[in-house]
Protein backbone atom coordinates (compact mmCIF):
# COMPACT_ATOMS: atom_id res chain seq x y z
CA UNK A 1 0.00 0.00 0.00
CA UNK A 2 2.77 2.43 0.98
CA UNK A 3 6.27 2.13 -0.28
CA UNK A 4 9.27 4.38 0.29
CA UNK A 5 12.13 3.87 -2.14
CA UNK A 6 15.53 5.29 -1.19
CA UNK A 7 13.92 8.32 0.37
CA UNK A 8 16.07 11.35 1.26
CA UNK A 9 14.42 14.15 3.21
CA UNK A 10 15.03 16.96 5.66
CA UNK A 11 14.61 20.65 6.34
CA UNK A 12 16.20 23.23 4.03
CA UNK A 13 19.91 22.36 3.91
CA UNK A 14 19.72 19.85 6.73
CA UNK A 15 19.25 16.33 5.43
CA UNK A 16 17.78 13.97 8.01
CA UNK A 17 16.69 10.85 6.13
CA UNK A 18 19.25 8.96 4.09
CA UNK A 19 18.17 6.35 1.62
CA UNK A 20 15.22 5.12 3.65
CA UNK A 21 13.28 2.26 2.10
CA UNK A 22 10.28 0.66 3.74
CA UNK A 23 6.91 -0.70 2.82
CA UNK A 24 3.57 -1.13 4.55
CA UNK A 25 1.16 -3.65 3.10
CA UNK A 26 -2.62 -3.50 3.21
CA UNK A 27 -4.02 -4.31 6.64
CA UNK A 28 -0.62 -4.33 8.30
CA UNK A 29 0.24 -2.65 11.58
CA UNK A 30 3.85 -1.52 11.21
CA UNK A 31 6.05 0.20 13.76
CA UNK A 32 8.85 2.63 13.08
CA UNK A 33 10.98 2.90 16.21
CA UNK A 34 14.28 4.47 17.08
CA UNK A 35 15.95 7.00 19.33
CA UNK A 36 15.22 10.74 19.52
CA UNK A 37 16.28 12.61 16.42
CA UNK A 38 16.52 9.51 14.26
CA UNK A 39 14.11 10.95 11.73
CA UNK A 40 10.92 9.06 12.58
CA UNK A 41 8.71 12.14 12.57
CA UNK A 42 10.51 13.45 9.49
CA UNK A 43 9.54 10.23 7.71
CA UNK A 44 5.87 10.71 8.56
CA UNK A 45 5.92 14.42 7.71
CA UNK A 46 7.44 13.61 4.33
CA UNK A 47 4.87 10.92 3.55
CA UNK A 48 2.02 13.23 4.59
CA UNK A 49 3.27 15.91 2.20
CA UNK A 50 4.11 18.54 4.82
CA UNK A 51 7.76 18.14 3.80
CA UNK A 52 8.85 17.51 0.26
CA UNK A 53 11.34 14.71 -0.39
CA UNK A 54 14.85 15.57 -1.53
CA UNK A 55 15.27 12.31 -3.35
CA UNK A 56 13.86 8.86 -3.82
CA UNK A 57 10.23 8.01 -4.25
CA UNK A 58 7.04 7.63 -2.20
CA UNK A 59 4.46 5.32 -3.69
CA UNK A 60 0.90 5.05 -2.40
CA UNK A 61 -1.14 2.27 -3.96
CA UNK A 62 1.46 2.11 -6.71
CA UNK A 63 1.30 5.81 -7.60
CA UNK A 64 4.04 8.32 -6.86
CA UNK A 65 2.95 11.02 -4.39
CA UNK A 66 6.28 12.86 -4.26
CA UNK A 67 4.94 16.04 -5.81
CA UNK A 68 1.53 16.01 -4.16
CA UNK A 69 0.52 18.70 -1.68
CA UNK A 70 -0.45 17.75 1.88
CA UNK A 71 -4.18 18.28 1.36
CA UNK A 72 -4.17 16.15 -1.79
CA UNK A 73 -2.40 13.33 0.02
CA UNK A 74 -4.92 13.56 2.85
CA UNK A 75 -7.75 13.29 0.32
CA UNK A 76 -6.10 10.25 -1.31
CA UNK A 77 -6.66 8.35 1.92
CA UNK A 78 -3.57 8.92 4.05
CA UNK A 79 -4.37 10.35 7.43
CA UNK A 80 -1.61 11.82 9.57
CA UNK A 81 -1.88 12.21 13.33
CA UNK A 82 1.01 14.43 14.25
CA UNK A 83 2.94 14.58 17.48
CA UNK A 84 1.81 18.19 18.03
CA UNK A 85 -1.75 17.00 17.29
CA UNK A 86 -2.55 20.22 15.38
CA UNK A 87 -6.07 20.34 16.74
CA UNK A 88 -8.33 23.35 16.18
CA UNK A 89 -8.17 24.44 19.79
CA UNK A 90 -10.88 27.12 19.71
CA UNK A 91 -13.41 24.77 18.19
CA UNK A 92 -15.54 22.17 19.86
CA UNK A 93 -14.76 18.47 19.76
CA UNK A 94 -17.60 17.97 17.34
CA UNK A 95 -16.37 20.69 14.98
CA UNK A 96 -12.88 19.19 15.04
CA UNK A 97 -14.36 15.84 14.05
CA UNK A 98 -16.47 17.38 11.30
CA UNK A 99 -13.36 19.07 9.94
CA UNK A 100 -11.66 15.68 10.00
CA UNK A 101 -14.31 14.63 7.52
CA UNK A 102 -13.85 17.82 5.49
CA UNK A 103 -13.00 15.92 2.33
CA UNK A 104 -16.12 13.76 2.58
CA UNK A 105 -19.06 15.55 1.03
CA UNK A 106 -21.52 12.87 2.04
CA UNK A 107 -23.27 14.14 5.19
CA UNK A 108 -24.75 10.73 5.96
CA UNK A 109 -21.32 9.12 5.80
CA UNK A 110 -19.98 11.84 8.12
CA UNK A 111 -22.64 11.16 10.73
CA UNK A 112 -22.01 7.43 10.48
CA UNK A 113 -18.27 7.89 11.05
CA UNK A 114 -18.92 10.28 13.93
CA UNK A 115 -21.17 7.69 15.57
CA UNK A 116 -18.45 5.05 15.13
CA UNK A 117 -15.79 7.33 16.57
CA UNK A 118 -17.99 8.18 19.56
CA UNK A 119 -18.48 4.47 20.16
CA UNK A 120 -14.72 3.99 20.14
CA UNK A 121 -14.06 7.01 22.36
CA UNK A 122 -17.09 7.52 24.62
CA UNK A 123 -15.19 10.28 26.41
CA UNK A 124 -15.31 12.41 23.28
CA UNK A 125 -19.06 11.98 23.03
CA UNK A 126 -19.48 13.27 26.58
CA UNK A 127 -17.42 16.30 25.71
CA UNK A 128 -18.52 17.02 22.19
CA UNK A 129 -19.41 20.63 22.98
CA UNK A 130 -16.18 21.31 24.85
CA UNK A 131 -13.44 23.36 23.18
CA UNK A 132 -10.58 21.13 22.08
CA UNK A 133 -8.02 23.43 23.70
CA UNK A 134 -9.54 23.00 27.15
CA UNK A 135 -9.25 19.21 27.25
CA UNK A 136 -6.64 17.13 29.01
CA UNK A 137 -3.60 15.73 27.21
CA UNK A 138 -5.04 12.23 26.92
CA UNK A 139 -8.37 13.47 25.64
CA UNK A 140 -6.62 15.61 23.07
CA UNK A 141 -4.65 12.61 21.79
CA UNK A 142 -7.87 10.68 21.47
CA UNK A 143 -9.46 13.58 19.64
CA UNK A 144 -6.50 13.80 17.26
CA UNK A 145 -6.70 10.08 16.48
CA UNK A 146 -10.47 10.32 16.15
CA UNK A 147 -10.16 13.30 13.81
CA UNK A 148 -7.67 11.34 11.75
CA UNK A 149 -10.21 8.54 11.43
CA UNK A 150 -13.00 10.83 10.29
CA UNK A 151 -11.87 10.85 6.67
CA UNK A 152 -12.18 7.04 6.49
CA UNK A 153 -8.48 6.70 5.65
CA UNK A 154 -6.91 3.60 4.18
CA UNK A 155 -3.60 4.37 5.84
CA UNK A 156 -3.01 6.13 9.13
CA UNK A 157 0.34 7.59 10.12
CA UNK A 158 0.41 7.99 13.90
CA UNK A 159 3.24 9.90 15.53
CA UNK A 160 4.14 9.28 19.20
CA UNK A 161 0.64 8.78 20.61
CA UNK A 162 2.04 7.77 24.01
CA UNK A 163 4.21 10.85 24.48
CA UNK A 164 3.42 12.67 27.72
CA UNK A 165 0.55 10.40 28.70
CA UNK A 166 0.06 8.68 32.01
CA UNK A 167 0.44 4.87 31.75
CA UNK A 168 -3.23 3.87 31.86
CA UNK A 169 -4.03 6.34 29.07
CA UNK A 170 -1.18 4.90 27.01
CA UNK A 171 -2.92 1.53 27.23
CA UNK A 172 -6.17 3.18 26.12
CA UNK A 173 -4.53 4.78 23.13
CA UNK A 174 -2.78 1.57 22.08
CA UNK A 175 -6.02 -0.36 22.46
CA UNK A 176 -7.81 2.10 20.19
CA UNK A 177 -5.08 1.64 17.57
CA UNK A 178 -5.54 -2.12 17.75
CA UNK A 179 -9.30 -1.65 17.32
CA UNK A 180 -8.59 0.46 14.26
CA UNK A 181 -6.38 -2.25 12.81
CA UNK A 182 -9.20 -4.73 13.42
CA UNK A 183 -11.42 -2.42 11.35
CA UNK A 184 -9.07 -3.00 8.43
CA UNK A 185 -7.15 0.28 8.65
CA UNK A 186 -3.48 0.04 7.78
CA UNK A 187 -1.29 1.79 10.35
CA UNK A 188 2.26 3.05 10.41
CA UNK A 189 3.08 3.86 14.03
CA UNK A 190 6.03 5.90 15.22
CA UNK A 191 6.84 5.34 18.89
CA UNK A 192 9.45 5.68 21.57
CA UNK A 193 7.71 3.22 23.84
CA UNK A 194 9.48 0.35 22.08
CA UNK A 195 8.39 -2.46 24.34
CA UNK A 196 4.65 -1.85 24.13
CA UNK A 197 4.88 -1.03 20.44
CA UNK A 198 6.59 -4.27 19.54
CA UNK A 199 3.88 -6.11 21.49
CA UNK A 200 1.01 -4.89 19.35
CA UNK A 201 2.52 -4.41 15.88
CA UNK A 202 3.06 -6.96 13.11
CA UNK A 203 6.31 -5.71 11.73
CA UNK A 204 8.90 -3.15 12.79
CA UNK A 205 11.62 -0.97 11.32
CA UNK A 206 14.43 0.45 13.41
CA UNK A 207 15.57 3.89 12.31
CA UNK A 208 18.88 5.24 13.61
CA UNK A 209 20.54 8.45 12.46
CA UNK A 210 18.28 8.70 9.44
CA UNK A 211 18.93 5.18 8.18
CA UNK A 212 16.97 1.95 8.48
CA UNK A 213 19.21 -0.38 10.44
CA UNK A 214 16.91 -3.31 10.97
CA UNK A 215 13.54 -4.66 9.91
CA UNK A 216 11.48 -7.73 10.55
CA UNK A 217 8.48 -9.17 12.34
CA UNK A 218 8.01 -7.35 15.65
CA UNK A 219 8.49 -10.51 17.63
CA UNK A 220 11.93 -11.28 16.19
CA UNK A 221 12.99 -7.62 16.38
CA UNK A 222 12.16 -7.77 20.06
CA UNK A 223 14.43 -10.78 20.52
CA UNK A 224 17.34 -9.07 18.79
CA UNK A 225 20.44 -8.49 20.88
CA UNK A 226 20.98 -4.87 19.71
CA UNK A 227 17.37 -3.92 20.34
CA UNK A 228 17.32 -5.54 23.75
CA UNK A 229 20.44 -3.62 24.77
CA UNK A 230 19.65 -0.26 23.21
CA UNK A 231 15.89 0.08 23.66
CA UNK A 232 14.55 -2.43 26.10
CA UNK A 233 17.27 -2.10 28.69
CA UNK A 234 17.39 -5.85 29.23
Amino acid sequence: MLELKNLDSGYDFLQILWDVSLHVDKGEFVALVGPNGAGKSTTLRTVSGLLSPKGGEILFKGKSINKRKAHEISRMGISYVSEQLNLFTDMSVEENLLLGAYALHDTEQQLKTIAFVFELFPRLKERKRQLAGTMSGGERKMLAIARGMMSNPELMLVDEPSLGLQPNLVTDVFRSLQLLRDQGVTILLVEQNVNATLEITDRAYILEQGKIVMEGPSRSVKENEHVRNAYLGI
Binding site: S48, K69, A70, N86, F88, E94, Y102, R129, S151
Partner: protein, 350 residues
Protein backbone atom coordinates in the same frame (compact mmCIF):
# COMPACT_ATOMS: atom_id res chain seq x y z
CA UNK B 1 -21.90 22.83 1.81
CA UNK B 2 -23.11 20.54 4.50
CA UNK B 3 -25.78 21.77 6.81
CA UNK B 4 -25.19 20.01 10.06
CA UNK B 5 -27.08 22.34 12.34
CA UNK B 6 -26.22 20.53 15.53
CA UNK B 7 -22.88 22.28 15.71
CA UNK B 8 -23.07 25.29 17.99
CA UNK B 9 -20.13 27.65 17.88
CA UNK B 10 -18.85 28.35 21.34
CA UNK B 11 -17.66 31.79 20.36
CA UNK B 12 -20.68 33.82 21.44
CA UNK B 13 -21.00 32.17 24.84
CA UNK B 14 -17.28 32.34 25.38
CA UNK B 15 -17.45 36.02 24.49
CA UNK B 16 -20.14 36.60 27.10
CA UNK B 17 -18.23 34.75 29.81
CA UNK B 18 -15.16 36.70 28.83
CA UNK B 19 -17.05 39.96 29.30
CA UNK B 20 -18.12 38.79 32.74
CA UNK B 21 -14.71 37.51 33.80
CA UNK B 22 -12.49 40.04 32.12
CA UNK B 23 -12.02 43.25 34.05
CA UNK B 24 -10.97 45.54 31.15
CA UNK B 25 -13.88 44.28 29.07
CA UNK B 26 -16.27 44.91 31.92
CA UNK B 27 -14.92 48.42 32.36
CA UNK B 28 -15.25 49.11 28.65
CA UNK B 29 -18.83 47.80 28.60
CA UNK B 30 -19.81 50.17 31.40
CA UNK B 31 -17.85 52.97 29.74
CA UNK B 32 -19.65 52.36 26.42
CA UNK B 33 -23.01 52.50 28.12
CA UNK B 34 -22.10 55.81 29.73
CA UNK B 35 -20.97 57.17 26.35
CA UNK B 36 -24.23 56.07 24.78
CA UNK B 37 -26.21 57.90 27.46
CA UNK B 38 -24.06 61.02 27.03
CA UNK B 39 -24.63 60.90 23.27
CA UNK B 40 -28.35 60.41 23.83
CA UNK B 41 -28.58 63.45 26.14
CA UNK B 42 -26.37 65.79 24.11
CA UNK B 43 -27.26 64.74 20.58
CA UNK B 44 -30.58 62.96 20.81
CA UNK B 45 -31.76 59.99 18.72
CA UNK B 46 -30.22 61.15 15.40
CA UNK B 47 -26.75 61.06 16.96
CA UNK B 48 -27.43 57.62 18.41
CA UNK B 49 -28.43 56.49 14.94
CA UNK B 50 -25.27 58.07 13.54
CA UNK B 51 -23.26 56.12 16.06
CA UNK B 52 -24.86 52.89 14.98
CA UNK B 53 -24.39 53.67 11.29
CA UNK B 54 -20.68 54.32 11.73
CA UNK B 55 -20.40 51.48 14.24
CA UNK B 56 -21.87 49.05 11.76
CA UNK B 57 -19.56 50.28 9.04
CA UNK B 58 -16.40 50.21 11.18
CA UNK B 59 -17.41 46.74 12.31
CA UNK B 60 -17.86 45.65 8.70
CA UNK B 61 -14.45 47.08 7.74
CA UNK B 62 -12.82 45.61 10.85
CA UNK B 63 -14.27 42.14 10.24
CA UNK B 64 -12.51 42.12 6.87
CA UNK B 65 -9.23 43.17 8.48
CA UNK B 66 -9.60 40.61 11.26
CA UNK B 67 -10.30 37.86 8.73
CA UNK B 68 -7.29 38.65 6.59
CA UNK B 69 -5.03 38.92 9.60
CA UNK B 70 -6.43 35.89 11.38
CA UNK B 71 -6.39 33.54 8.41
CA UNK B 72 -3.47 34.83 6.33
CA UNK B 73 -1.40 36.80 8.86
CA UNK B 74 -1.48 39.85 6.61
CA UNK B 75 -1.58 43.28 8.31
CA UNK B 76 -3.72 44.74 5.58
CA UNK B 77 -3.04 48.41 4.91
CA UNK B 78 -4.75 48.47 1.53
CA UNK B 79 -8.15 47.69 3.03
CA UNK B 80 -9.19 51.32 2.57
CA UNK B 81 -8.58 51.01 -1.16
CA UNK B 82 -11.16 48.23 -1.32
CA UNK B 83 -13.54 50.73 0.30
CA UNK B 84 -12.50 53.30 -2.33
CA UNK B 85 -13.18 50.87 -5.17
CA UNK B 86 -16.60 50.23 -3.64
CA UNK B 87 -17.49 53.92 -3.69
CA UNK B 88 -16.43 54.28 -7.33
CA UNK B 89 -18.27 51.17 -8.50
CA UNK B 90 -21.42 52.29 -6.73
CA UNK B 91 -21.11 55.76 -8.25
CA UNK B 92 -20.52 54.52 -11.79
CA UNK B 93 -23.29 51.95 -11.62
CA UNK B 94 -25.88 53.96 -9.72
CA UNK B 95 -25.71 57.36 -11.45
CA UNK B 96 -26.04 56.07 -15.05
CA UNK B 97 -28.78 53.74 -13.90
CA UNK B 98 -30.67 56.66 -12.37
CA UNK B 99 -30.16 58.70 -15.53
CA UNK B 100 -31.42 55.81 -17.66
CA UNK B 101 -34.60 55.69 -15.62
CA UNK B 102 -35.44 59.15 -17.01
CA UNK B 103 -36.95 62.23 -15.47
CA UNK B 104 -40.06 60.47 -14.26
CA UNK B 105 -38.80 57.13 -12.99
CA UNK B 106 -40.77 54.18 -11.79
CA UNK B 107 -40.62 54.53 -7.98
CA UNK B 108 -39.88 50.83 -7.43
CA UNK B 109 -36.91 50.82 -9.82
CA UNK B 110 -35.70 54.08 -8.36
CA UNK B 111 -35.77 52.70 -4.84
CA UNK B 112 -33.97 49.54 -5.92
CA UNK B 113 -31.28 51.10 -8.09
CA UNK B 114 -28.91 51.91 -5.16
CA UNK B 115 -28.87 48.21 -4.34
CA UNK B 116 -27.67 47.49 -7.87
CA UNK B 117 -24.69 49.76 -7.21
CA UNK B 118 -23.99 48.18 -3.82
CA UNK B 119 -24.25 44.60 -5.08
CA UNK B 120 -22.06 45.46 -8.07
CA UNK B 121 -19.49 46.90 -5.66
CA UNK B 122 -19.52 43.66 -3.67
CA UNK B 123 -19.00 41.59 -6.83
CA UNK B 124 -16.21 43.81 -8.16
CA UNK B 125 -14.61 43.71 -4.71
CA UNK B 126 -14.74 39.92 -4.64
CA UNK B 127 -13.13 39.67 -8.07
CA UNK B 128 -10.52 42.30 -7.20
CA UNK B 129 -9.69 40.32 -4.06
CA UNK B 130 -9.15 37.14 -6.06
CA UNK B 131 -6.89 38.94 -8.55
CA UNK B 132 -4.79 40.66 -5.87
CA UNK B 133 -4.36 37.47 -3.84
CA UNK B 134 -3.49 35.26 -6.80
CA UNK B 135 -1.19 37.83 -8.38
CA UNK B 136 0.59 39.21 -5.33
CA UNK B 137 0.25 37.23 -2.11
CA UNK B 138 0.10 33.66 -3.43
CA UNK B 139 3.43 33.86 -5.29
CA UNK B 140 5.14 35.33 -2.21
CA UNK B 141 3.61 32.69 0.04
CA UNK B 142 4.80 29.91 -2.25
CA UNK B 143 8.29 31.32 -2.44
CA UNK B 144 9.00 31.83 1.24
CA UNK B 145 7.22 32.17 4.56
CA UNK B 146 10.17 33.73 6.36
CA UNK B 147 9.55 37.35 7.34
CA UNK B 148 6.02 36.92 6.08
CA UNK B 149 4.25 39.48 8.26
CA UNK B 150 6.68 42.27 7.39
CA UNK B 151 6.77 41.39 3.69
CA UNK B 152 3.01 41.16 3.49
CA UNK B 153 2.66 44.49 5.29
CA UNK B 154 5.00 46.20 2.83
CA UNK B 155 3.12 44.65 -0.07
CA UNK B 156 -0.20 46.02 1.19
CA UNK B 157 1.30 49.50 1.54
CA UNK B 158 2.53 49.19 -2.05
CA UNK B 159 -0.89 48.06 -3.22
CA UNK B 160 -2.41 51.04 -1.45
CA UNK B 161 -0.07 53.47 -3.25
CA UNK B 162 -0.66 51.90 -6.63
CA UNK B 163 -4.42 51.88 -6.21
CA UNK B 164 -4.84 55.45 -4.96
CA UNK B 165 -2.54 56.80 -7.67
CA UNK B 166 -4.10 54.48 -10.22
CA UNK B 167 -7.48 55.95 -9.35
CA UNK B 168 -6.13 59.49 -9.69
CA UNK B 169 -4.65 58.59 -13.06
CA UNK B 170 -7.74 56.95 -14.50
CA UNK B 171 -10.75 58.76 -13.02
CA UNK B 172 -9.01 61.88 -11.73
CA UNK B 173 -8.78 63.49 -8.30
CA UNK B 174 -12.27 65.01 -8.38
CA UNK B 175 -14.88 64.14 -5.81
CA UNK B 176 -17.75 62.17 -7.31
CA UNK B 177 -20.66 61.91 -5.00
CA UNK B 178 -24.39 61.80 -4.70
CA UNK B 179 -26.43 63.89 -2.28
CA UNK B 180 -28.55 60.93 -1.26
CA UNK B 181 -29.54 57.43 -2.35
CA UNK B 182 -33.16 57.58 -1.33
CA UNK B 183 -34.62 61.02 -1.92
CA UNK B 184 -37.46 60.71 0.57
CA UNK B 185 -38.47 62.48 3.76
CA UNK B 186 -36.80 61.33 6.96
CA UNK B 187 -38.70 58.79 8.99
CA UNK B 188 -39.95 59.92 12.37
CA UNK B 189 -39.20 57.53 15.21
CA UNK B 190 -39.97 58.67 18.76
CA UNK B 191 -40.11 62.25 17.60
CA UNK B 192 -36.67 62.09 16.00
CA UNK B 193 -36.22 62.51 12.26
CA UNK B 194 -33.94 59.81 10.92
CA UNK B 195 -32.51 59.88 7.39
CA UNK B 196 -33.49 56.82 5.36
CA UNK B 197 -30.02 56.58 3.79
CA UNK B 198 -28.48 56.07 7.19
CA UNK B 199 -31.05 53.56 8.30
CA UNK B 200 -30.48 51.52 5.16
CA UNK B 201 -26.69 51.79 5.55
CA UNK B 202 -26.99 50.37 9.07
CA UNK B 203 -29.26 47.64 7.77
CA UNK B 204 -26.78 46.73 5.02
CA UNK B 205 -23.84 46.52 7.38
CA UNK B 206 -25.88 44.39 9.79
CA UNK B 207 -27.01 42.00 7.07
CA UNK B 208 -23.51 41.71 5.59
CA UNK B 209 -21.92 40.99 8.97
CA UNK B 210 -24.65 38.46 9.75
CA UNK B 211 -24.05 36.72 6.41
CA UNK B 212 -20.29 36.58 6.98
CA UNK B 213 -20.87 35.26 10.50
CA UNK B 214 -23.29 32.64 9.25
CA UNK B 215 -20.89 31.63 6.51
CA UNK B 216 -17.98 31.23 8.93
CA UNK B 217 -19.88 29.30 11.59
CA UNK B 218 -22.55 27.33 9.82
CA UNK B 219 -21.05 26.15 6.55
CA UNK B 220 -18.40 23.59 5.74
CA UNK B 221 -16.23 26.08 3.86
CA UNK B 222 -16.58 28.69 6.59
CA UNK B 223 -15.49 26.14 9.15
CA UNK B 224 -12.46 25.42 6.99
CA UNK B 225 -11.58 29.13 7.01
CA UNK B 226 -11.64 29.16 10.80
CA UNK B 227 -9.61 25.95 10.83
CA UNK B 228 -6.88 27.57 8.73
CA UNK B 229 -6.86 30.55 11.12
CA UNK B 230 -6.34 28.23 14.10
CA UNK B 231 -3.88 25.69 12.74
CA UNK B 232 -2.61 25.77 9.20
CA UNK B 233 -0.82 22.43 9.45
CA UNK B 234 -3.87 20.80 10.99
CA UNK B 235 -5.99 22.22 8.19
CA UNK B 236 -3.73 20.70 5.54
CA UNK B 237 -3.79 17.40 7.41
CA UNK B 238 -7.58 17.14 7.13
CA UNK B 239 -7.48 17.92 3.42
CA UNK B 240 -8.14 21.65 3.30
CA UNK B 241 -6.59 23.38 0.29
CA UNK B 242 -4.77 26.39 1.74
CA UNK B 243 -4.55 28.22 -1.58
CA UNK B 244 -8.31 28.03 -2.05
CA UNK B 245 -9.04 29.20 1.51
CA UNK B 246 -6.56 32.07 1.31
CA UNK B 247 -7.96 33.35 -1.97
CA UNK B 248 -11.52 33.00 -0.72
CA UNK B 249 -10.74 34.82 2.52
CA UNK B 250 -9.05 37.72 0.78
CA UNK B 251 -11.88 37.97 -1.70
CA UNK B 252 -14.46 37.96 1.08
CA UNK B 253 -12.61 40.67 2.96
CA UNK B 254 -12.25 42.87 -0.12
CA UNK B 255 -15.91 42.40 -0.98
CA UNK B 256 -17.10 43.45 2.49
CA UNK B 257 -14.96 46.60 2.38
CA UNK B 258 -16.31 47.44 -1.08
CA UNK B 259 -19.87 46.97 0.16
CA UNK B 260 -19.14 49.32 3.06
CA UNK B 261 -17.81 51.91 0.62
CA UNK B 262 -20.78 51.58 -1.69
CA UNK B 263 -23.33 51.79 1.11
CA UNK B 264 -21.72 54.98 2.43
CA UNK B 265 -21.30 56.74 -0.93
CA UNK B 266 -23.79 59.43 0.17
CA UNK B 267 -21.65 60.19 3.24
CA UNK B 268 -18.12 59.89 1.85
CA UNK B 269 -18.28 60.46 -1.95
CA UNK B 270 -15.83 58.74 -4.29
CA UNK B 271 -12.26 60.06 -4.55
CA UNK B 272 -8.87 58.36 -4.62
CA UNK B 273 -7.98 58.71 -0.94
CA UNK B 274 -11.46 58.18 0.50
CA UNK B 275 -10.31 54.88 2.01
CA UNK B 276 -7.89 56.40 4.50
CA UNK B 277 -10.34 57.27 7.24
CA UNK B 278 -12.20 53.94 7.14
CA UNK B 279 -8.82 52.18 7.13
CA UNK B 280 -7.65 54.01 10.22
CA UNK B 281 -10.86 53.41 12.10
CA UNK B 282 -10.88 49.73 11.15
CA UNK B 283 -7.34 49.48 12.50
CA UNK B 284 -8.35 51.24 15.74
CA UNK B 285 -11.01 48.59 16.10
CA UNK B 286 -8.82 45.53 15.53
CA UNK B 287 -6.02 46.85 17.70
CA UNK B 288 -8.49 47.66 20.46
CA UNK B 289 -10.08 44.20 20.53
CA UNK B 290 -7.13 42.05 19.49
CA UNK B 291 -5.93 41.26 15.99
CA UNK B 292 -7.74 38.54 14.11
CA UNK B 293 -10.68 38.35 16.48
CA UNK B 294 -13.85 38.52 14.39
CA UNK B 295 -16.47 38.54 17.14
CA UNK B 296 -14.40 41.19 18.90
CA UNK B 297 -14.19 43.25 15.72
CA UNK B 298 -17.97 43.53 15.61
CA UNK B 299 -18.21 44.74 19.20
CA UNK B 300 -15.15 46.95 18.73
CA UNK B 301 -16.67 48.66 15.72
CA UNK B 302 -19.45 50.00 17.90
CA UNK B 303 -17.12 50.96 20.75
CA UNK B 304 -14.99 53.03 18.40
CA UNK B 305 -18.07 54.63 16.88
CA UNK B 306 -19.32 55.55 20.36
CA UNK B 307 -15.99 57.16 21.16
CA UNK B 308 -16.00 58.99 17.87
CA UNK B 309 -19.51 60.41 18.20
CA UNK B 310 -19.06 61.31 21.85
CA UNK B 311 -15.83 63.10 20.99
CA UNK B 312 -17.55 65.04 18.22
CA UNK B 313 -20.31 66.11 20.58
CA UNK B 314 -18.14 66.95 23.57
CA UNK B 315 -14.89 68.25 22.01
CA UNK B 316 -15.79 69.09 18.36
CA UNK B 317 -14.88 67.07 15.30
CA UNK B 318 -11.19 68.07 15.32
CA UNK B 319 -10.60 65.62 18.17
CA UNK B 320 -12.35 62.76 16.40
CA UNK B 321 -9.22 60.72 15.77
CA UNK B 322 -7.27 61.92 18.80
CA UNK B 323 -9.52 60.54 21.53
CA UNK B 324 -9.95 57.03 20.03
CA UNK B 325 -6.18 56.86 19.60
CA UNK B 326 -5.58 57.81 23.22
CA UNK B 327 -8.07 55.19 24.35
CA UNK B 328 -6.40 52.62 22.11
CA UNK B 329 -2.99 53.40 23.59
CA UNK B 330 -4.38 53.09 27.12
CA UNK B 331 -6.02 49.78 26.33
CA UNK B 332 -2.84 48.41 24.76
CA UNK B 333 -0.87 49.47 27.82
CA UNK B 334 -3.28 47.62 30.12
CA UNK B 335 -4.11 44.66 27.87
CA UNK B 336 -1.41 44.29 25.20
CA UNK B 337 -3.24 41.60 23.23
CA UNK B 338 -6.41 43.67 23.02
CA UNK B 339 -9.66 43.56 24.97
CA UNK B 340 -10.75 40.11 23.94
CA UNK B 341 -7.31 38.53 23.91
CA UNK B 342 -6.14 36.84 20.79
CA UNK B 343 -7.66 33.77 19.22
CA UNK B 344 -5.19 33.63 16.37
CA UNK B 345 -1.75 32.39 15.60
CA UNK B 346 -0.61 35.95 16.21
CA UNK B 347 2.46 37.47 14.72
CA UNK B 348 4.86 34.62 14.45
CA UNK B 349 7.67 34.20 12.01
CA UNK B 350 7.53 30.82 10.37
Amino acid sequence: MSNITSVRPATLTSLLTRIKDNRPVFIVSVFSLILLIVIGIKGGPPQILNTFVSGGMWALMAVGLALVFGVMNIPHFAHGESFMVGTYVAYYVYTPLLAALGSNPNPVFKALSPFAGIIAAGLVGAILGIIVERLIFAPLRHRTRSGWVMNAFLLTVGISFVMTNGATLTVGPNFRGIPTYWDVDPIEILGARLAVDRLVAFFISGVTIALVWFFLHRTRTGRAIRAVAQDETGAQMVGIDLDFIHTLTFSLSTATAAIAGAALLFMFQAYPTVGLKPLYFAWYVVMLVGLGNIAGAIVGGFIVALLQTATQLLFTITWETVIPTIVMILVLLLAPSGLFGSEVKGIQEQ
